[in-house]
Symmetry: C2
Subunit: 329 residues, 2 copies
């Protein structure tokens, strides 16, 4: 029986030597990993930047996610924040802290996930640098950059009364996947278990799609630039659920957002509550031909907060966190 190499066993330098060749190269990298810092092209004279941590326990479980899925999700969730500004993702920084007894294969798999996610979601984007540390808690801190190509960033505060409210990407699917994992992907004691999660995924095509959306989401990254080019007046990445994130646009813009129940399917309240789709929610002037995969789901109205078919959801006792627990998800 061969014992796999561990991070602590072969050390940082040897581990990095095995990871580097797997990482995607960035077209924008003028000086890549290996010096004190990287140098990245910012042809626009500005750059868009966002950072997000993913922590084992609250954000992912090794029993449920493959290393590749961990890397993929860390890339995808940061890329979607860049897209939500109307920018083209250009580069990523990846800082990873892992227990010393982690197999090097875990880190190689995570690197593969970054490479595959960039190839699928944001071709030309790659990893320009990072950091590797030892920690008791597996932690990824990813920073993503984007270029605006001369356009204004699409912020949250530009929605105006009369605008179309539109979404590109799934709604509530990732949250459904998380519920399936917590109900079917656990052992008798309720602890996450790989075999149970694999079985849960095989129950139906919908269940497989939902679990995949949770573990390795594919947000519509290129629709961020498409929305900007189509004149989007506001945009946000749907990380905490349609209701909460729409309320952020409503609050920043000083308007209300009225969702059309018919556009939200059979169970609109569940769709409104589910987080982690990383879809793009945007507003457009009336008459705009919606770009890419955007579809209309509501309208910007006078007032405040969010509504469903004209009825305010504020103060109704309806809880946007229903079915969604960010602390365990």
């Amino acid at each position: 029986m061969t014992v796999p190499d561990t991070l602590g066993g072969i050390g940082e330098v040897a581990t990095l030597a095995r990871i580097f060749p797997r990482l995607p190269r960035a077209d924008a990298a003028l000086l890549g990993p290996g010096d004190d810092a990287a140098v990245v092209a910012a042809p626009d004279g500005r750059f868009v930047v966002t950072t997000d941590m993913m922590i084992h326990g609250p954000d992912f479980r090794l029993a449920w996610s493959s290393p590749l899925q961990i890397g993929w999700k860390a890339a995808a969730t940061n890329l979607s924040d860049v897209a939500a500004m109307g920018a083209t993702p250009s580069a990523l920084l990846v800082a990873i802290a892992a227990p010393a007894d982690s197999p090097v294969g875990l880190l190689e798999g995570i690197a593969d996930g970054f490479r595959e996610a960039c190839a699928a979601l944001a071709p030309g984007c790659g990893v320009v640098g990072g950091d590797l540390s030892v920690s008791a808690t597996l932690t990824l801190a990813v920073t993503a950059f984007g270029d605006l190509d001369g356009r204004a960033p699409v912020v949250r505060s530009g929605a105006r009364v009369g605008d179309i409210v539109a979404v590109s990407g799934t709604l509530g699917l990732a949250a459904a996947g998380l519920r399936l994992l917590f109900s079917g992907g656990v052992d008798a004691a309720g602890e996450p278990e790989r075999a149970a999660a694999t079985s849960a995924r095989l129950a139906s095509e919908h269940d497989a799609a939902a679990i995949d959306a949770q573990l390795a989401p594919s947000p519509p990254i290129s629709d961020g630039v498409a929305a900007s080019l189509a004149g989007a007046t506001s945009m946000i990445d749907l990380s905490d659920g349609l209701a909460l994130d729409a309320r952020r646009i409503a609050g920043a813009s000083g308007v209300g957002i009225d969702f059309h129940g018919a556009a939200l399917g059979d169970d609109p309240l569940t769709v409104l509550g589910g987080g982690e789709d990383h879809s793009l929610l945007a507003t457009f002037r009336t008459g705009t031909v919606l770009p890419g995969a955007f579809r209309p789901i509501g309208a910007v109205v006078a007032g405040e907060g969010i509504l469903l078919d004209g009825q305010s959801l504020e103060g109704t006792g309806w809880d946007p966190y229903r079915g969604w627990d960010g602390n365990v998800g």
Copy 2:
């Protein structure tokens, strides 16, 4: 007795509301915290970027470092990587993962450390965004940006035979501080203890300076640009000790580096081994008037590796990690 507010008790939104006003503003921030991503000016059309994690245990101890010192050190160590490229630090991103029972005062103190470090070391640099998460292990992931103002980055590979080797900042002082903490800053069981560390600091002015250099280093940030303007041929931030980091320049440049023992004080081998000074090591063409606080400590020679007064330190059994354990430091 009042119970202090905790991160888990008041939640992310209320915690951020208390942190934001304490953070330094960046002159380069075109769109600061509060949207999906920030927008930062890159007047040069490129940006320098580096990231480093600091993890409780291997990188700092709450028993030894005040919250302000934790934030200060996280800022300083990243700023010095930007400086080592010859760039002016423009902005920081700060991602923090902390246990849910952390007092909010811990995070406020860390924010104060970022503000004071930027004011002291890199005026105009500030925090443009970040992330706050819950983790069992207190973890900071900091990303720092810099602007080159049209100059080429100063990389590790440009040292040429005959160049002056010079340093700006302390040598071995931070490692001496760490040794003092491990010898005198512990309780009877050898565990880090605040009262013991405070006593150790009072032993002498030197000991106080050494412990301060370890817990809240003040690297010569502005000397990075000064070195670039003076034509530095290579430069590196001294994070792992003079010997190891000089060997990186030697290896990247295909040269040897010969240190003058007289320039390294009474105990040159200890000075060569000590890490975490975050001073700047650079090479300059002969005849250069050394800028800022740079002082000559050696010469670039034909060959490879590092030497002391002409004697190679390679293969002598001398261990550059002597007196320095990155895993416990």
